[in-house]
């Protein structure tokens, strides 16, 4: 799949672009070669120009739909308290201090730390424990492998609410860990269905020759995995880690179940909602908080765009 700048410049794109920018004068431009096909060529060129205009108008309209919500959120986030109560769209004064105020809200830093702990530790554990499982499912032959794979997919598709009641009783009554994030983090040390699935899909694409060669060189399977497969699977591991990090960062249900009783264990996603509660009518501060929760994910995306997009593709297309 292509990413980045591949489609910025192809020969036809360039000419279509210049033709469209002077769509009306396209007719006057001298055709490169005379002959019988002159009028047909001119018509084709005009059609291409119209097509260019139509496609890019639609694209700009779509871009507005996707971008304007961010813009309005940002504009509101820097409004003064008084202005945020009005219907005005453009801030009179740019009150950047709103972000500082949110940052200094009691609890906000704690939520930040908790989220990093949940997402960071959770991701390391999930990827680390899922990799050997994915490797076995992709490269070993054993009886029941297909059943195993079905179980992984079923677990991946299972709504978390299906098993939440006994799970909560287990963590809260047996292990007394309610009010912490550990019930959410510890299970990741035992494989995560989505990570297993994603890693396996990628590992399937590694030719058998590489692992065979390592085996012939006398490497054990675990060494093969670490020395041969892991370096090749870096993009997949990065994509899986990103997905997992985002999953934890975005998770609302988990922290609601296990951490709601203890604000000291809240995460950003869970705390953000209560922020609205504490600032009932102050949309400016609420939106500033919203920006602060969105920003890290979007910044991370810009650093890891390619891995991310490849990962999404891997979930659906490659099989």
């Amino acid at each position: 799949m292509t990413t980045d700048t591949s489609s910025y410049s192809t020969g036809s794109a360039g000419s279509a672009g210049s033709a469209a920018s002077t769509a009306s004068s396209a007719n006057k431009a001298p055709p490169p070669a005379g002959g019988a096909g002159r009028t047909a060529e001119r018509a084709a060129r005009r059609r291409a120009a119209l097509h260019w205009v139509a496609v890019h108008s639609l694209a700009i309209a779509a871009a507005l739909f996707f971008v304007l919500p961010f813009v309005f959120v940002l504009l509101t986030a820097v409004m003064s308290d008084d202005q945020a109560l009005t219907r005005e769209l453009w801030p009179h004064t740019w009150q950047w201090g709103n972000f500082v105020e949110v940052w200094q809200t009691p609890g906000f830093l704690t939520w930040w730390r908790n989220t990093l702990l949940y997402a960071g530790l959770g991701t390391v554990l999930a990827v680390g424990s899922s990799l050997p499982v994915a490797y076995a499912l992709a490269k070993f032959r054993f009886r029941g492998r297909n059943v195993m794979m079905m179980v992984v997919i079923a677990a991946m598709m299972l709504p978390p609410q299906v098993v939440i009641v006994p799970m909560y009783l287990f963590w809260a009554k047996q292990l007394d860990l309610a009010g912490t994030l550990w019930p959410l983090i510890i299970p990741f040390a035992f494989g995560n269905a989505f990570s297993i699935f994603l890693l396996r899909q990628f590992l399937l694409t590694i030719p058998r020759e590489y692992t065979e060669a390592a085996r012939i060189d006398g490497c054990g399977e675990f060494t093969t995995l670490l020395r041969v497969v892991l370096p090749m699977a870096k993009p997949a591991v990065a994509a899986t880690a990103l997905f997992h990090f985002f999953y934890c960062w975005n998770d609302y249900f988990g922290p609601q179940i296990y951490a709601s009783e203890n604000p000291g264990a809240w995460t950003l996603s869970y705390g953000l909602e209560s922020f609205k509660g504490a600032h009932q009518t102050d949309w400016n501060l609420t939106m500033a908080a919203t920006v602060l929760v969105m920003a890290p994910v979007i910044i991370l995306f810009f650093f890891a765009q390619k891995a991310f997009v490849e990962g999404v593709t891997l979930t659906g297309v490659k099989g």
Binding site: S12, S129, E261, G316
Partner: protein
């Protein structure tokens, strides 16, 4: 599993007869089995403790009266009849799920395909457009939902403000029972990035020759879409529909946060919140599980609803595994 039984008769996968004869081979087989078991062990434990056990326990509790404090007591089908006959939230939640499947999933697939088609045709600045179209998908659901409740709030929201200047009086959006699900649908369309990428990749995989052949046959652009594009990408469309349906069954954060914020209920604990505000219109099945299990401490009834959710999700997951053999295929 006989079909997948290893074929080659040499090396570590020797047939059963040879293995029985040769003790060295048998030892090797056992070593291989232990190795496989070792690699799989995290998941074997994880699956047993975090899926199999709680699933069995959920079935058990669905026949018990248990409030989390006193000992569980067997009550037969009482929880089941309570959920199906007396619980005020169960049926509205199911009805909402059907609405969301019919409207939200359909629109998401159509819109995602449309955006995918659009982006493969953009000649200038495709990379920039692609990033812009993709970004909303990354917005954390709680943040995105709060943003949309703000954007669509009837008092000071920018959307109704703009509609007003155009002479249109906007609806009450998240505060109106007949507009709350459409509002959630707009939010879901905003985060179309996942489907866009999947459709884009599959559109780029359609063989060019087929388009050229169709063009030679004089096919117009609709014909090319109908007879070349669509047949080629139909497995991906199906994939998008089924995963969309399964995601809708799990739909939890957005409707809950929208309802809480729009109704002005303070997040966190302690405050009374009428689930599904306004008028049960944003109620989803997972919310019913939460409401029964964690707000009313009716463990048995919560487990009944959880099992209904389980059956629904597994029906569609089975369908997905059947239809997308690529999901399951392994190399051998």
């Amino acid at each position: 599993m006989t079909a997948t039984h290893p074929g080659p008769k040499t090396g570590p996968h020797a047939g059963p007869r040879d293995a029985r004869r040769d003790p060295a081979l048998r030892a090797k087989r056992r070593r291989n089995a232990l190795r496989t078991l070792g690699f799989l062990s995290p998941w074997l434990i994880g699956f047993s403790v975090f899926f199999a056990y709680p699933l069995i326990a959920t079935v058990y509790f669905s026949f018990m009266k248990y409030d989390g404090f006193t000992a569980p007591e067997y009550v037969g089908l009482k929880n089941w009849s309570y959920v199906f006959q007396d619980n005020p939230f169960f049926w509205p939640a199911l009805a909402n799920m059907l609405w969301l499947i019919a409207v939200m999933v359909t629109l998401r697939v159509v819109f995602g395909l449309g955006i995918g088609l659009l982006i493969t045709r953009i000649k200038t600045g495709a990379g920039v457009f692609r990033t812009l179209f993709y970004l909303p998908y990354l917005a954390p659901p709680v943040a995105a939902t709060m943003a949309f409740v703000f954007l669509l709030n009837p008092g000071t929201g920018p959307v109704n403000t703009i509609l007003d200047t155009l002479g249109i009086s906007g609806p009450q959006w998240f505060n109106d029972a007949s507009w709350s699900k459409p509002s959630l649908t707009i939010l879901a369309l905003w985060g179309i990035g996942d489907l866009m990428v999947i459709f884009m990749a599959s559109l780029l995989d359609v063989p060019k020759e087929q388009y050229e052949a169709a063009e030679l046959d004089g096919a117009n652009s609709w014909h090319r879409f109908r007879y070349v594009t669509l047949p080629n990408i139909s497995p991906i469309v199906l994939f998008a529909v089924i995963t969309g349906v399964i995601a809708t069954m799990q739909y939890y954060t957005e409707p809950l946060v929208a309802a809480k914020v729009a109704s002005g209920v303070i997040g966190g604990s302690g405050q009374h919140f009428e689930p599904g505000y306004p008028d049960k219109s944003t109620l989803t099945v997972p919310q019913v599980v939460y409401n029964l299990g964690f707000q009313r401490f009716d463990t048995g009834a919560a487990c009944v609803v959880a099992l209904v959710l389980f059956v629904l999700a597994m029906v569609f997951t089975t369908f997905l595994m059947r239809r997308r053999s690529g999901f399951m295929s392994a190399e051998d």
